[in-house]
Symmetry: C2
Subunit: 386 residues, 2 copies
């Protein structure tokens, strides 16, 4: 496998984007990334998206978007693995370039969720769970996460309020990110007093849905496409793993085995361990997912992740900075695009372009994108150290 | 790029499959392919599917199916490019194995369309066209093909009845294919007298939708996984190209530029030309698509494809055998799975396992899978001659 690098990135603001259509939104991110990479087109486009077939009545968005950005003729497909579709598109682009078949690839991801009313969106999100064995019983995605948190609190004797700093930290980091959905601080008191959305989950445990798109240009590390002023970031590890789609079928509901498997594989490819990671863009769709991800990836012992939050070891200058640009919680969670936002934000950090949110001396950044309730997890490690 | 081969295939009967769920249907094809390849699992699963999110309320079918076939933990994603999703999953598997990152890949594709009522299915199919610029104006997929045929008849002075043999030949070939949807012969008279579905298209120009799944196991050509009794088929060419999603935006509506581009690229990779192809599994969703595909790939001059049908050069023993196991027209068209059926049928031919439909001495088989009305086209050339 030849070594592969990111030479351009683009992303839009996450919000209710009534001002842009699906193709405009994704096109904006792609054109920004191509310009950043000093390219006008690419050989192949890999588009991550979860719900355009339902929310926008549009499939085949590979061709749909490739034409829109002026690259008619190029190869173009959509990849989907529910909430991890964004990083699935990145991995598809990495493999295509690594194979030698594709020389310039664009990985892009888009989600435009707010065109549909809330109850419909809840139903579309539920298609990431098991239609026969979970959704038909009436369970939603929020409910699945609530059940996991319920069990976690009982098993490890944590109180709900101990999870507050996962959300407080994310909101703090989002303040200086112009592309983030929220720019307001929250406090422990606000977290505690937030309305219950599904016991024990409260509103401020949950990330907000939103519209947005992100993109990256991927080339071989030894490419003549890389000009001297490119700030190149290398893909040091890329791995994907799966688990049962229905949570009740897992041997251990509180252990994300696909997170552990893909993280271990990415560490091994990069030749490093969890201790070497300078920042971790984790999948904080809910505070409970943030905790389970930290534990499965080796940043905390089993049942101990909330201690990282309580001790505030997760801030920009902490032991393991997370959600450095706001995370899913405060940058916003345009579901099928989230994974590519995480990766683009890591590139910003590794290029030292993260402004007031810069993690000092960042060398290795890890992104972990979780599809379903842990059924499809993709982990990447990027580095600026060739 | 390392050389890649198919060492196992599986497929289900195409029909209204009320007896099987989505996962059972796809699982059956995968388990058959793994058994054929003498494997129990794979490192990665690439699942092609167009409409499970709408027709089956299920996304994330990578993880959903990977667990079902007993391969929990393996990498698994879905790839989608509308009606060419089946061969997109095959190409994704080929690139993953070629990259060196994946050693045993399963490409599978499934569509279960008949769970939904007809009008809903028509709407789901229309998501392959441009939602803003085509579908919102009321045009359906059948209508787009009717417009193309109308134009073709006017431009090249053919009569509708000259297209009959595309359908007659497909039905003839399906008779000896136990997995085909239809097993009845049709005649020129039946073709002429079929009801008009959208002028000038008649019922027997159109392929039927159906439920079905197909799968293939892909490994490096130099793999220790290949035992001596494996009948190995090599991927000699694999290419994908796109065009505008809206037909009216094309410079030339009657020329499938993405078919030409991907076919030329596949010929060049294989080091052969159209004249060397022993059989062609084309995308005969409608007789007009069959014609446009034959012309764009170099089997007929522009405007002359119906002559191949009229002169019956397309039969098993003809100059260029097409739809050798019944094609979309008579084997059936489970939309997102069709491309993988084409590829599996070519492997059957190249392994000389096509029974009464065997193309004598077949050495090179080509499959072309068309997404949308030509917006996303994927072409593969397979060979038994290493």
């Amino acid at each position: 496998m030849r070594k592969v690098a990111v030479i351009g990135i683009g992303l839009t603001k996450v919000a209710e984007r009534w001002d842009k259509s699906l193709r405009e939104l994704c096109g904006d991110a792609i054109l920004m990334a191509l310009q950043d990479a000093q390219q006008t087109t690419a050989d192949a486009f890999f588009i991550g998206n979860m719900m355009s077939s339902s929310a926008n009545n549009q499939q085949n968005i590979g061709a749909y978007i490739t034409d829109w950005v002026g690259s008619r003729g190029a190869e173009s497909i959509r990849v989907e693995s529910a909430c991890s579709s964004g990083s699935a598109s990145f991995r598809a682009a990495v493999l295509a370039v690594a194979s030698g078949e594709v020389n310039v690839a664009v990985a892009a991801a888009v989600e435009k969720m707010t065109d549909s009313p809330g109850p419909e969106t809840t139903a579309y999100l539920a298609t990431a769970a098991d239609a026969d064995w979970e959704v038909d019983q009436g369970v939603s995605f929020v409910a699945l996460n609530a059940l996991l948190m319920q069990r976690y609190l009982a098993e490890y004797s944590w109180k709900h309020e101990s999870f507050a700093n996962f959300s407080i930290n994310a909101h703090q980091n989002a303040i200086h990110n112009p592309n983030a959905m929220f720019h307001m601080q929250i406090t422990q008191e606000k977290f505690n007093r937030a309305p219950v959305i599904c016991d024990p989950l409260k509103l401020l445990d949950a990330s907000p849905i939103g519209d947005g798109a992100a993109a990256a240009v991927i080339v071989p590390f030894e490419s003549e496409k890389i000009s001297t002023d490119h700030k190149t970031v290398i893909i040091a590890g890329s791995a994907a793993a799966s688990d049962t789609i229905a949570v009740h079928s897992r041997k251990d509901a509180l252990w994300l085995s696909a997170a552990e498997k893909s993280a271990k594989s990415a560490y091994s490819q990069a030749g490093i361990s969890a201790a070497d990671i300078d920042l971790f863009e984790y999948h904080d769709a809910f505070t409970i997912m943030a905790s389970l991800s930290l534990e499965a990836c080796g940043f905390a012992e089993r049942g101990h992740a909330p201690k990282l939050a309580v001790d505030n070891k997760i801030s920009i200058n902490g032991e393991i900075p997370v959600a450095t640009m706001g995370g899913l919680k405060a940058r916003g969670h345009p579901v099928g695009a989230t994974g590519l936002f995480q990766l683009v934000e890591i590139v910003q950090q590794l290029r030292h372009e993260a402004g007031k949110n810069q993690v000092p001396g960042a060398k290795y950044g890890m992104a972990q994108n979780i599809g379903g309730s842990g059924s499809n997890i993709i982990t990447h490690i990027l580095t600026n150290s060739g």
